[in-house]
Amino acid sequence: MANLKDIRKRINSVKSTQQITKAMQMVAASKLKKAQDSVVQARPYAAKMSDVLASLAVRVKPGKHPLLERREEKKVELLVITSDRGLCGGFNTNVTKAADIFLKERGTEDESVLLSVVGRKARDYYRRRGWEFQTEELNPGSTSFSQAEAIARPVIDRYVEGEVDAVYVAYTDFQSAMTQTVQVKRLLPLEPKALAEDEFPVEYLYEPSEGALLADIIPRYISTQIFRMLLESIASEHGSRMTAMDSATNNATEMTAKLTLIYNRARQAAITTELMEIVSGAEALN
């Protein structure tokens, strides 16, 4: 039977861990609220941007802009978005798992994959496996449009230069505080919107010229997409941490209850033995 002092120590340590997980859960909950708001606020812009671009892509001939060009996918780039910090359940492993599957499928002989990472977790994971990165960025739990642009710029450059023929992103899509799903989506080349049978594209007037507009709007669209994915990922991180910490706190409560039971049992046993000793000592005296 474990020694009383050890059990007491154990109980105290579980309790203090519980305090930490509880605090982390509350912090995550308040950050989640903020992150969720910014996702919701950013969605209209991203959605409208997609609409504008999709309707543009239908009207414009593929040769008009390098980012609309389709090539056979010989070299692809994968951008993996994770968080910087751990203690958020399976959040990061889910992303890297999905990314690993992608790398395995696409990294065949006649197809090679380049890797870019956002977030310390993905960076460490793939660095340990000997990968080299095209771009690496941290993900400190908040983001800005300019960070998204900074990530987008080299990605676009590599596509335009022909270093890669397609760009995919592995990130976590935020659905609610409880559910987040890992997605691997194609960022480039762009997908023109499919037209319904009775629809046909209306010609647009452009100002300034069509070419200048496209050159401006398409990179911005890519930045918008990346920005949205970063926001989704951050909200998911906080959501995932909140649930993980909630169950950790519950586990700690359970554990303290169990340990207290053991402790009391041990204490009782010790008292009983002591009493027995006293009684038998007294008997020996008589």
């Binding site: 950013a42 209209p44 409208k48 504008v52």
Partner: protein, 135 residues
């Protein structure tokens, strides 16, 4: 859809700024201001720093805008901008501070440096916000 109104939607990456029914929109296009009335032909234009004006009945409202795009359809105008502020939301003090900061930096660097343009643009935006706020 037959109506004599335009649905005006303004959004920036951080939030949806406006979604209203209006009678007329005047926007600062890169190649000059353009006005949109209901039934305008589909049109896509870049928008530069300036003020966007929309009319509801005989009321004119102003929005300070920065670089972005406007997609015009027959009864809808979607404006996607880096930043947009309604005239009554603008924090004049903040804009004033931004103006002073930009002016201070501009005085220090030479026009050949690449930051010069960024600072110029920052100054432009600050001035524009102050202007719109004072209308």
């Amino acid at each position: 859809m037959e109506s004599d109104k335009i649905r005006l939607k303004i959004a920036s990456p951080y939030r949806e700024v406006l979604d209203v029914e209006v009678d007329e929109v005047i926007a600062p296009g890169e190649e000059g201001q353009f006005g949109v009335l209901p039934g305008h032909t589909p049109f896509l234009a870049t928008v530069s720093v300036g003020q966007l004006i929309y009319r509801q009945g005989n009321q004119m409202k102003h929005v300070a805008v920065s670089h972005g795009y406007a997609e015009v359809e027959y009864h809808q105008v979607i404006v996607l901008l880096d930043a947009a502020e309604l005239s009554d939301e603008i924090d004049v003090d903040r804009a004033e501070r931004a103006r002073q900061r930009a002016e201070g930096r501009l005085a220090e660097i030479s026009p050949e440096e690449k930051d010069y343009f960024e600072e110029m643009a920052a100054l432009d935006r600050a001035m524009n916000r102050i202007l719109v706020a004072k209308i």
